[in-house]
């Protein structure tokens, strides 16, 4: 059965009985927008009938929507047409509009679907960028697009591309992970088996639809005929108790989120708010997309116990867009390792005797996923207890990066020294112990803040525009794990002659404010140095790793100003 056939058979079986309910903010309360599966299917056929009559199916279609059911009509419509969908974040300023423009260019797309409410704003925003190729924004909701009954099942094969997931690559250089219909079906089956998803499940979520966890989470629900309840990220972040209330009201069984969201729930939901809530139906609280913290797991188990939350529901997982979504999943008995810090620095696990590092198990490989630990230099497979690069092999592994053969070969064509492969090279570091995966580090340079991947080069480039004294000077953004949260430090060269009336303190405040606002992260620590204080390679590239080590060991040179005192000050 193809992906579209699978979806349609569920929509037919549960056409009237099952629903996708979206909870929209209205003032300070949430109101329901309910679509029965029959309506969802009809909306998708309408979009698909219209799309196939006007659009060349070889070109990807960008989807720019507010959180809600309109996105899902459009997305399913793309699947029903066999065209490539690109779910993207809705741009809200010049910078995010630039990102949309770069995605359009990278994907060679000239059509974006949206709603009547947003169309004019988006058209004006993109016109201001002066693209060399015109973009048509079409609203799917201002009139009937086509007769849903004129839709015919598209011809799709296993290799037909379902969507591009633009979570990889920096803002300046976005890369689209190519997820085929076969990848989607395979990982949906993997997740279904691992989490025990069925038509009886009730999935409750708030993760954005342009995030792999939000997108695939809903799709897995739909291919199983499960009931779905959604709300916007903003609605959840404003009042985290809303998620718990929805789980209690709709008898939710599965909800997924990055670690920070569980931390937020534990911190912000009060015992009074929990009164009267019943969380005993919650079977799976999947925790993934960023490092899983032991402290968070224990806090949430304690905080939610009075509402009947089952401690074993908290399930750490590991995955990424490059494997569609899920690779490993915790089986319900949470394991931790107290690893010896010195041994770990030498890529080896031994039980702690002195300084300890607490490692959280991300569970065993999910059904249909082959997980190996490989020495990234020698390419030999490593035995249990040794730290190496995490390699994955599965039909869930995506087809590569869209129109990027070189980057695809580098990441998706890993062969071990004995010739076995191809494997996806995740770039993450980890070890296997008793058959379970413990992630110990991540791809060089990548920063993860609140579940979002950030690239240091984006921040370094952004800082250039803050003040003439830093424009054209080199700098590095590096991150540190302080008290269970990721903290950023910017080490930036300054031209003192261009400071004018600005003091170093004022410049540091300006840089902090601009970065915090531009990237929606806590203000970084800032160190200003003279030009010679930045380490460069012989070819003139900045050496982030070497700068990071120098900062950690207090060995930075040519320092003219240091305002890193706020780093970690929040703890």
């Amino acid at each position: 059965m193809t992906l579209v056939e699978r979806l349609r058979s569920q929509f037919e079986t549960y056409g009237d009985s099952h629903t996708f309910t979206y909870l929209h903010e209205s003032g300070r309360t949430l109101v329901e927008d309910v679509a029965a599966f029959r309506d969802l299917d009809r909306g998708a056929r309408e979009v698909a009938a219209w799309l196939s009559s006007r659009h060349a199916t070889s070109q990807p279609v960008l989807l720019l929507f507010e959180p809600g059911l309109d996105f899902w009509r459009a997305f399913l419509g793309c699947l029903y047409t066999g065209v490539i969908a690109i779910p993207a974040p809705l741009p809200h300023d010049q910078r995010s509009m630039q990102r949309v423009a770069r995605i359009l260019r990278d994907a060679d797309s000239s059509l974006a679907l949206t709603t009547a409410k947003l169309r004019d704003l988006l058209t004006a925003g993109i016109d201001g960028l002066g693209l060399d190729r015109p973009i048509a924004f079409e609203a799917i909701d201002d009139s009937r697009l086509a007769d849903p009954d004129s839709w015919t099942m598209p011809h799709t094969t296993a290799d037909t591309v379902a969507f591009l997931q633009y979570t990889s690559g920096s803002t300046g250089d976005p890369k689209g992970v190519v997820v085929t219909h076969a990848n989607m079906l395979h990982n949906a089956e993997t997740i279904t088996q691992a989490l025990g998803v069925s038509f009886k499940s009730v999935l409750v979520g708030w993760i954005p639809h342009f995030h792999d966890m939000g997108l695939i989470g809903v799709l897995v629900g739909l291919v199983n005929g499960a009931n779905l309840v959604g709300m916007s990220p903003l609605a959840f972040l404003k009042q985290p108790v809303r998620l718990l209330r929805a789980i209690s009201d709709y008898r939710g069984t599965i909800s997924t989120a990055p670690n920070f969201a569980y931390d937020l729930i534990a911190r912000r939901v009060t015992p009074e708010q929990l009164t009267g809530l019943d969380l005993s139906t919650w079977e799976v609280a999947l925790n993934g997309a960023e490092p899983v913290r032991r402290r968070t797991i224990e806090r949430i188990q304690n905080a939610l116990a009075p509402a009947g939350f089952v401690p074993s529901a908290m399930r750490p997982a590991y995955g990424m867009a490059e494997v569609t979504l899920l690779a490993t999943f915790s089986g319900g008995i949470q394991r931790y390792l107290d690893a010896d810090a010195d041994a770990l620095e030498h890529n080896r696990y031994t039980p702690a005797t002195g300084r300890a590092v607490s490692l959280v198990s991300s569970g065993a490989p999910a059904p249909g996923i082959d997980v190996r630990i490989v020495d990234p230099q020698s390419l030999h497979e490593l035995p249990e207890g040794r730290v190496g690069e995490i390699w994955l092999r599965s039909d869930s592994v995506a087809a590569g990066y869209y129109r990027r053969p070189a980057e695809t070969a580098e990441r998706f064509n890993g062969y071990m020294s004995d010739g076995t492969g191809p494997y996806l090279r995740t770039g993450d570091l980890g070890l296997l112990h008793d058959g379970e995966l413990y992630v110990t580090g991540r791809r060089k340079d990548l920063l993860i803040v609140n579940g979002r991947n950030l690239y240091p080069q984006d921040i370094e480039e952004f800082v250039q525009d803050v003040h003439p004294a830093v424009t054209g000077s080199r700098g590095v953004a590096v991150s540190f794990d302080i008290d269970d949260s990721e903290r950023l430090v910017l080490i930036q060269a300054v031209k003192p002659e261009l400071l004018g009336d600005t003091s170093y303190g004022e410049l540091a405040a300006a840089v902090k404010g601009a970065v915090a606002r531009g990237f929606e992260i806590p203000a970084p620590g800032v160190v200003f140095v003279n030009r010679t204080g930045i380490h460069l390679t012989t070819s003139g590239k900045v050496q982030r790793a070497s700068m990071r080590a120098a900062f950690l060991n207090a060995e930075l040179t040519d320092v003219v100003h240091d305002s890193t005192d706020t780093v970690g000050a929040s703890k």
């Binding site: 404003k238 937020l264 000050a569």
Partner: protein, 88 residues
């Protein structure tokens, strides 16, 4: 600053201290929030709690338009007064 604003500010300080898990005395009402390690998740948290506590609608960009707690206290005080006038 009038008594209203002082009490709003005390409440705001206590909220922020709880998000950041520091004591209220560590919060400076006149230092921009971004410089105190407040990220977008904290900012939206504050918006949500202000809405619920004062029963007013707050735009999520509040934290950018009113960068310090002292500014936010003034904003809330005005918004609450405006709302009471509208009701009266």
């Amino acid at each position: 600053m009038n008594a209203n604003r002082r009490s709003i500010l005390r409440w705001l300080t206590a909220q922020l201290a709880s998000y950041l898990e520091v004591s209220a005395t560590a919060i400076e009402p006149t230092v921009p929030l971004a410089e105190m390690g407040v990220d977008s998740v904290h900012a939206v948290s504050l918006v949500g709690d202000v809405e619920a506590h004062f029963d007013i609608d707050v735009d999520p960009t509040m934290i950018f338009d009113y960068p310090t707690l002292a500014h936010i206290a003034e904003y809330i005080d005005d918004a609450v007064a405006e709302q009471q006038e509208a009701v009266a």
